[in-house]
């Protein structure tokens, strides 16, 4: 039930987002000026490179950020993670796929159905406790769910989707 509501809600927000935020073209038309930390490829409409959309940290920061305060099973204590909601990013990119494939720099890969993505979770966190995350501390991007908010986020599946050192996302059919 809750799940269905979430789906419906996500659709509604997906429909509303284009009206309220900066249009996708603004974000992706620019070229990354710093190091590229994320490359999104596959079924997306907005691209700034050959068959992909590349982001540096500044471009991500330009998108509206969302804080998530939670503990994780990999860290000690509660931390405030800040980042771009995945749904928002996909929307900016005009994603039309049904599954995402998230890859880490060590080539860890996991598939995430788009339907499982909420309007505000997970986020692509780039800050922990207000500081950018180093590669040695699972940075620079880490898919974070609000684990403490519900037992639904404390399952093995969710843990496996919490990819740290994220650098690529492929949007699949």
């Amino acid at each position: 039930m809750t799940f269905t509501i979430r789906i419906v809600l996500s659709f509604v927000i997906c429909l509303l987002l284009p009206l309220t935020t900066a249009n996708a073209a603004d974000v992706v038309t620019g070229e990354p000026t710093g190091d590229v930390i994320l490359t999104v490829s596959g079924k997306i409409s907005a691209k700034n490179a050959e068959d992909a959309a590349q982001f540096d940290i500044e471009m991500l920061r330009a998108l509206s950020a969302q804080p998530v305060s939670t503990s994780t099973i990999w860290t000690e204590g509660v931390h405030v993670f800040t980042g771009v909601p995945l749904a928002l990013l996909l929307d900016e990119l005009g994603s039309s796929g049904s599954t995402l494939r998230a890859l880490a720099i060590n080539d860890y890969a996991i598939e995430v159905p788009v339907a499982d993505i909420g309007p505000d979770y997970p986020i692509l966190a780039y800050e922990m406790n207000g500081k950018p995350m180093h590669r040695r501390d699972k940075g620079p991007l880490w898919i974070i769910y609000p684990y403490d908010a519900s037992p639904d986020f404390q399952t093995s599946l969710v843990y496996s989707r919490s990819v740290w050192q994220l650098d690529r996302i492929e949007v699949l059919d």
Binding site: I73, W74, T75, H134, R136, D137, K138, P151, Y159
Partner: protein, 862 residues
């Protein structure tokens, strides 16, 4: 349980309920405990089941999978980093970024192992901790090289490579020890789950057992309640049978009188069907219309538990109404009861109309019989009166005739007529006696009697009669003598005379013996005297023996006719004997003779100092003026003649009215008043004289009547008469009555003091005592006069006793007038006639003046 069941049929249903009431409580406790246990077990099982399910389903937060993944990756990351180092060694121109990336990945992984709480658990394995710390130290030491310039890094490559094997070895240790830990932990988990499953199974078994117990319990309760139901049904059936077969009507109502039960007998009695009366107010249906209000209010009082109702009072008789409106009597009893839910009234009743009818019939029969008896007695009284009146005339005229010059023959005829007349009079008296006994008026004058003398005189008086029959007559004592006995001499004489007369009559040429014996036994502490009259006569047949003492029985019709007699003799004799407290009986053998016996209890008497001698010559009253009121010409003539013979002046009146007029016109010394007269009778005339203001309103009035029943005399006195003379007039009785005439205030001077009485008493007490007593008498009377002079109201009614005392004193001094006035006042005081009492008391001072003067002159004259 079984025992109580076995008892149930033997006891009433009420007792059965009480018997099962006791274990009920403990059984209820058991039931509740079972239910609670089942509930607890069920909850525990549910909880445990949930835990098992959640354990299996992985709903519980589970991070171990991820941890294991991370541990296995440490080795990969370490290997990747080592490979990158080796690659850089072989190719000096290589970009060191790849090496740095591998380091960062490796570092990040190890850091994760160090910082996450979930990996901390594996710290329990010492090898793990040691390897982790060693790895961390190496990595920390490597950071300056990695972050340093490429040249320095290139120079350090061989050193890094040399560390590679050690790091990979540590990574392997980490990985293996982590695996070991998780295998162990999985084992523990499995054990925990199997323990839980075992507990669950145990709980399930317990739950099953509890539910089984509960089922057994419920079954037991069901069985028990079924059995109770059966017992109750049996009790109900028995009750119904009792109600149905009861001969008494039984009605059960609630507190408002609405019918709950109405048995067959009640249906028969009232003619209503149970269905017709069920739930309806019974009182309105079965009460007669006129008694309905009374019954309803009484029922309300019963409801309110007021006292004095018929509830619980046993059987009462009421009128009730049938369905067809017929009113009939019932006998009813009402009880209150409680059936455990509400209060009830139970009425038992039955139709008693047949019984009441029978009783009424019996009563009517009895009343008729009594009325018949009364009519008979009345008839006898009237007849005897009617016979005595002309007989009185006859005998009176014979007395007068006897005093006229007669020849010898005439004198004999007159005497014979006189004898016959008196015999006839005796018969009439016998009849009158019967009437008198019937009315219960038997009075005996018990006095000391010389039994021997009585018998001697009796025998002597009958000897003449016996000699005529050729019969010998004698009497004798048997055993110890008791010369003096306290009894009524006249009555005993009559008894013996009757028996003796009969014996002589039926014993021609035989002998009659009278025996008298004091029996050894006593009755009420009184000696019993038996008198036996033994004849050698014809005897009495056994058939007749039983009723010789009944009224109007003669032994043999033909013989009875030959010997004469009314057949009343023995009946009267029996009544007298019974009246004296004795018994009478007879034994007889036909042809040989009879023995009549009489047993009388009588106290032993004492011989008086002097035997009373024959009557002294009767004093004749002073010459009086007499008014004679009598309607019967002959009687009037006889009475007039008798009175004149004694020197009295007689004025006669032939009826009541004339008498009243004569009494009003002149003052007489005495009025003789016949009672039964046509028109105004004697009583009416007396009242007229007493209430009027004629000249003779206060003079003594003496009744003349053949009716001598005691209650009649009361009536005479009540009407204002002063005395009574029975008819026929007897010269002696008449002289007594006139001599003892009640005083009248207007009497002549000579009557103030009866000098004869005075002088007799004076001589008796001696002169000195006499003078003292006269003085005391004076002060006594004067005190009385002062005392009563102002009395009024109630105190006039209570002065009687005081007056009586003084009257007694007056008698001693022959103060007749004073005495009579005092006695008259006493009588009126007793009768509560206050006007008359006051009037008489007011006369006292004048009378006392006269008396005192006379007394003084007489006292001095001595």
């Amino acid at each position: 349980m079984t025992s109580s069941e076995q008892q149930t049929p033997a006891e009433s249903s009420l007792n059965a309920q009480l018997a099962t009431a006791m274990p009920n409580r403990s059984r209820r406790v058991i039931g509740s405990a079972l239910v609670i246990a089942a509930f607890l077990l069920f909850s525990l099982t549910g909880l445990l089941g949930y835990r098992v399910v959640t354990n299996f389903s992985g709903v519980q937060p589970e991070a171990s999978d991820n941890v294991m993944w991370s541990l296995s990756q440490v080795e990969v990351d370490a290997s990747d980093f080592n490979n990158a180092v080796k690659e850089a060694l072989l190719n000096p121109d290589i970009d060191f970024n790849r090496l740095r990336l591998r380091f960062d990945i490796y570092y990040s992984r190890v850091n994760t192992l160090r910082s996450s709480a979930h990996y901390r658990k594996v710290d329990a394995i010492p090898a793990f901790t040691a390897s982790l710390n060693r790895t961390w130290d190496v990595l920390q030491g490597t950071i300056p090289l990695i972050d340093g310039p490429d040249r320095a890094l290139a120079a350090a490559l061989p050193e890094l490579d040399s560390q590679g094997d050690e790091l990979r070895e540590h990574a392997r240790i980490l990985s293996i020890s982590g695996l070991k830990y998780f295998v162990q932990s999985a084992d523990d988990n499995r054990a925990a789950i199997s323990r839980m499953l075992l507990q669950l199974a145990g709980l399930a078994v317990l739950l099953f057992a509890t539910l089984t117990a509960l089922a057994v319990y419920v079954l037991t309760i069901y069985r028990k309640s079924r059995m109770r139901g059966v017992a109750l049904e049996q009790a109900n059936k028995r009750m119904q049978t009792i109600l149905t077969t009861s001969l008494d009507g039984v009605i059960v109502t609630d507190m408002n009188g609405r019918v709950l039960e109405f048995n067959k007998a009640a249906e028969r009695t009232f003619g209503y069907k149970f269905s017709e009366v069920l739930g309806r107010p019974i009182i309105e249906m079965v009460s007669p219309d006129d008694a309905l209000q009374h019954h309803l209010s009484h029922a309300e009082r019963i409801q309110n538990r007021e006292t004095g109702t018929i509830e619980g009072k046993g059987r009462v008789t009421l009128q009730a109404k049938r369905a067809n409106g017929e009113i009939f009597p019932i006998e009813l009893s009402i009880q209150r009861a409680d059936d455990g839910q509400q209060e009830l009234f139970i009425a038992f009743l039955h139709d008693i109309s047949k019984r009441v009818a029978a009783e009424n019939e019996l009563l009517e029969t009895r009343d008729r019989a009594l009325a018949g008896e009364r009519a008979k007695a009345e008839f006898l009284t009237v007849m005897s009166h009617e016979i005595r009146t002309p007989l009185n005339g006859l005998l009176g005229n014979l007395t007068l005739l006897h005093d006229t010059p007669l020849s010898d023959d005439q004198t004999r005829y007159v005497r014979n007529m006189d004898i016959s007349g008196r015999v006839l009079m005796r018969h009439v008296d016998s009849v009158l006696d019967i009437a008198r006994f019937q009315s219960g008026a038997l009075e005996f004058d018990i006095a000391c009697t010389d039994l021997g003398l009585l018998l001697t005189e009796l025998i002597n008086s009958q000897i003449g009669q016996a000699e005529q029959q050729g019969t010998q007559l004698c009497w004798n004592w048997v055993g110890t003598r008791m010369e003096w006995g306290r009894t009524d001499r006249a009555a005993l004489e009559q008894v013996l005379l009757n028996l003796l007369g009969n014996a002589i009559k039926f014993t021609p040429q035989g002998s009659v013996d009278v025996e008298i014996e004091r029996l050894p036994e006593t009755e009420d502490n009184k000696p019993v005297i038996e008198l036996r009259v033994i004849d050698t006569g014809i005897g009495i047949s056994p058939d007749d023996l039983d009723h010789v003492f009944d009224d109007f029985v003669t032994s043999d019709t033909s013989f009875g006719r030959a010997t004469g007699g009314t057949g009343l003799g023995l009946g009267i004799t029996r009544r007298i004997v019974e009246g004296l407290g004795g018994t009478i009986g007879v034994e007889s053998t036909p042809g040989e003779g009879s023995t009549f016996w009489v047993r009388l209890p009588m106290e032993q008497g004492r011989a008086p100092g002097t035997t009373p001698t024959a009557d002294a010559h009767r004093p004749i009253a002073d010459k009086l003026t007499v008014l004679l009121v009598e309607d019967n010409d002959i009687n009037r003539e006889v009475a007039t003649a008798l009175l004149r013979k004694d020197g009295h002046t007689v004025v006669s009146a032939h009826d009541g009215q004339t008498g009243v007029e004569s009494a009003a016109n002149a003052r007489f010394d005495l009025i003789l008043m016949d009672i039964a007269m046509p028109g105004m009778d004697g009583l009416q005339a007396t009242r007229a004289i007493r209430c009027g203001d004629g000249a003779s309103r206060n003079v003594p009035i003496i009744a003349l009547s053949a009716n001598i029943l005691p209650q009649e005399r009361e009536r005479f006195l009540a009407a204002g008469m002063n005395g009574f003379l029975p008819k026929p007039l007897n010269i002696d009785e008449m002289r007594d009555a006139l001599f003892n005439l009640p005083a009248s205030p207007q009497r002549t001077d000579t009557q103030i003091i009866n000098t004869a009485q005075l002088s007799a008493n004076r001589a008796g007490m001696g002169e000195e005592v006499f003078q003292t007593l006269v003085e005391r008498f004076r002060s006594e009377v004067e005190a009385l006069i002062t005392e009563v002079s102002s009395l009024t109201g109630d105190s006039l009614d209570t002065i009687g006793a005081r007056l009586h005392t003084v009257a007694g004193s007056a008698a001693i001094f022959g103060a007749s007038r004073l005495r009579h006035t005092l006695l008259a006042a006493e009588n009126s005081a007793k009768a509560q006639d206050r006007t008359e009492t006051r009037r008489l008391l007011d006369e006292l001072p004048v009378i006392w003046n006269d008396t005192r003067d006379k007394l003084t002159s007489l006292a001095l004259a001595a």
